[in-house]
């Protein structure tokens, strides 16, 4: 494990711009390096790497209030179109856009001088001339950069007495099944256009017409087609692009936000789980340069729906007179123990969505509880993937072929993959967290289900005999770690508290132990 990097998922303090592969100066220790150039921002002097813009230097040190911006986004090329980020540079005749002006040695910058504040007030007033200000119905309200900056810099009144521009067609226009556009709210920062041009490279969006009539359009009839549409709704600074799955479900200020990890593929994107009263409303990506940058894919973003599915099994179920019935865990484990003791052979299949800790626990501790030989193997279940060697990139960004999060982490425990048709024991225990596939089993096979299951999945096992279901916790509800496809181990803590009757694998194993 020498080349393994291990870290905990948490919200990074410095959310940085590394479209340009640059690393923070602070982590650049080479002593023989030439003295770095220095720039003075608001009276303090900072070292920077040649090539940094003023905005990037200020971002890196986060030493004073954020420089307001609309068009600048750390993960995208610089455009310099919105003029919100202007700062005063001494000896320069005019205000400079900090996002696109390279810092120079000896430069003296003022980010909050009177001249700068006046300019920002002017920009705000212009942006608001045509803005509908329908915050009450706008999903962005509460996390809207237009609201925030207007509160800080806006003029509070407007000289614009004319009728506001309304895009009749594009007031609620579905750009795809997932994204809705309200063109009236757009501030023309063109982050979305640059994202589809330079990040996904799908060129789905384009601005047509000019000035007053400048309008965002999809380039094809089909609308948006890329797999990262949710990101558009994250970084659109206003409520012009909204995510249909979240639209009107909750106001943003009710959400509590906890970091976790996406378990929809082997990439392991860092996410923030937004929930209220332990109900998840959305996932948004958090910046981690080593794993996902600023982004996450749409299937990952929607994957919370599986956990909030009313069909999910959240209490122990026992087979009684050919039907599964809710019971207590004690009763279930007692019954299963008897069945397992009498079984001629027992097999345990661990899904590759188990955490490293769960895999270790099940492999090392679990057989001793039963007091018999248990053959342990892992099962991935993604079409075409048996082990981590089959994993490959599906596009130029994040998506991986392996749709389970921890194949490498389970392999690391010395468990080997289940080969087809190998489920041959008297009783087989299938442990999975809702992401790994279900192995093929012969008709009449006795099986114990453990982890995250839903009733629809259990129905597909109608020709087998399900002895019982031990409800388990999903990734965002528990603690553990995954090793992603690049060998990075990421630890995570519970983002929401499970409100049903499911227990963690450790709790179940401890209870099982105390029963025997």
């Amino acid at each position: 494990m020498s080349n393994t990097t291990e870290f905990e998922i948490k919200k990074p303090k410095v959310d940085l711009n590394y479209a340009s592969e640059k690393k923070p100066v602070a982590s650049d220790p080479s002593p023989e390096a030439k003295p770095l150039p220095k720039v003075t921002i608001d009276g303090k002097t900072y070292e920077f790497k040649p090539g940094d813009t003023i905005m990037q230097v200020a971002e890196r040190y986060k030493v004073h209030e954020e420089i307001p911006r609309y068009c600048y986004h750390p993960g995208m090329p610089i455009a310099g179109t919105c003029r919100m980020c202007t700062v005063e540079v001494e000896k320069a005749p005019k205000l400079m856009t900090s996002c696109s002006t390279p810092a120079a040695d000896g430069m003296v910058v003022h980010t909050r001088s009177d001249k700068v504040l006046k300019s920002r007030t002017g920009v705000m007033e212009f942006l608001l001339t045509n803005h509908p200000l329908d915050c009450p119905v706008c999903d962005k309200a509460g996390e809207c950069e237009l609201q925030d900056y207007n509160y800080e810099y806006g003029p509070g009144t407007s000289n614009f007495k004319e009728e506001k521009r309304v895009f009749e067609e594009a007031t609620t226009k579905k750009l795809s099944d997932q994204v809705t556009l309200n063109m009236n709210r757009c501030v023309h920062c063109e982050r979305c256009v640059r994202f589809t041009d330079d990040v996904t490279k799908t060129n789905d969006l384009v601005m047509v017409n000019r000035g007053w009539h400048k309008e965002l359009e999809a380039t094809t009839e089909a609308g948006l087609t890329n797999d990262y549409q949710g990101c558009l709704t994250d970084f659109c600074p206003v409520g012009a692009l909204t995510w249909n799955d979240f639209r009107f479900k909750k106001r943003s200020w009710f959400l509590s936000k906890k970091p976790s990890i996406c378990d929809r593929c082997s990439k392991g994107c860092n996410i923030e789980v937004h929930s209220d009263a332990e109900v998840v409303y959305r996932y948004v990506p958090i910046h981690n340069e080593m794993v996902n940058g600023h982004w996450m894919c749409d299937s990952g973003r929607s994957s919370y729906n599986d956990l909030m599915n009313p069909m999910r099994v959240i209490s122990p179920l026992m087979n009684h007179q050919n039907g599964l019935h809710s019971t207590t865990l004690q009763a279930l484990l007692g019954e299963l123990s008897i069945q397992l003791k009498n079984a001629s052979s027992v097999q345990l299949v661990i899904g590759t969505d188990a955490t490293r800790e769960e895999a270790a626990l099940l492999k090392d501790k679990f057989p001793s509880i039963l007091g018999k030989n248990v053959s342990v193997s892992y099962f991935n279940g993604t079409a075409g993937v048996t082990s981590s060697a089959d994993d490959k990139k599906m596009d130029n960004l994040l998506k991986m072929k392996d749709l389970t999060p921890n194949t490498k982490g389970v392999e690391e425990q010395g468990i080997s993959p289940l080969s087809q048709g190998e489920v041959s024991s008297d009783i087989v225990i299938v442990f999975r967290n809702g992401r790994a596939g279900i192995p093929k089993m012969k008709a009449g096979q006795k099986v114990i289900l453990w982890g995250v299951w839903n009733h629809d999945e259990i129905k597909t096992l109608s020709s087998q005999t399900v002895l019982g279901v031990i409800a388990g916790l999903a990734t965002i509800e528990k603690e553990g770690s995954f090793k992603n496809t690049d060998g990075i181990v990421q630890k995570f803590h519970p983002a929401i508290v499970h409100k049903g009757g499911a227990l963690s694998a450790h709790q179940v194993v401890n209870m099982w132990k105390s029963l025997n």
């Binding site: 009450p136 119905v137 609620t172 309200n182 639209r247 009107f248 106001r251 200020w253």
Partner: protein
């Protein structure tokens, strides 16, 4: 431990009780004669007659509607956010296009809007927070109900006919 003596020594006048009873009788007789001879009452015959309250009185809530009987509420949740008793519960959804109240495309509507009047403290913050002048408190103070369920005002109840701030 210091104790506070709260017992009191009664005077002879108090011990005999009679003077106090006479004072009471005097007041009773005065009111009786005022009402009987001069027709001057301090009470009213309540259900038949009602008192006038100030227009600013905060009673049972209602939601104002436009001429198409569509609620003015756009489900912005500001009342739910501000409510100190946490007694407003809204579920929002997209408004159908043919149901647009003003001929303008309005995106959002409440599919359910419940106020639990048993928890409400009639502070009127919801009325103040509402950007659409939708939720208001009427001058109706007759809030008695025969079951707890009736005390939860749903959207239909809140959209009832109102004449200004009093019921029609």
């Amino acid at each position: 431990m210091a104790t506070i003596n709260v017992s009191k020594k009664y005077t002879v006048k108090e011990k005999t009780y009679l003077p106090a009873i006479l004072i009471g009788m005097k007041i009773t007789m005065k009111r009786f004669l005022q009402g009987f001879l001069l027709r001057k009452h301090d009470t009213i015959l309540y259900p038949e007659k009602k008192r006038d309250y100030s227009d600013r009185f905060r009673g049972m809530h209602f939601i104002s509607v436009d001429k198409n009987k569509t609620e003015n509420c756009t489900a912005c949740y500001l009342c739910e956010t501000v409510c100190p008793a946490e007694c407003i519960h809204i579920v929002a959804d997209e408004r159908d296009e043919d149901q647009n109240p003003y001929g303008v495309k309005k995106e959002k509507k409440p599919v359910s809007f419940d106020i639990d009047s048993l928890r409400c403290c009639f502070c009127g913050f919801c009325e103040e927070a509402c950007p659409k002048d939708a939720i208001k408190l009427s001058t109706n103070y007759e809030l008695a109900v025969s079951s707890r369920e009736e005390a939860i005002y749903d959207l239909d109840h809140l959209k009832r006919e109102m004449n200004g701030r009093s019921e029609k």
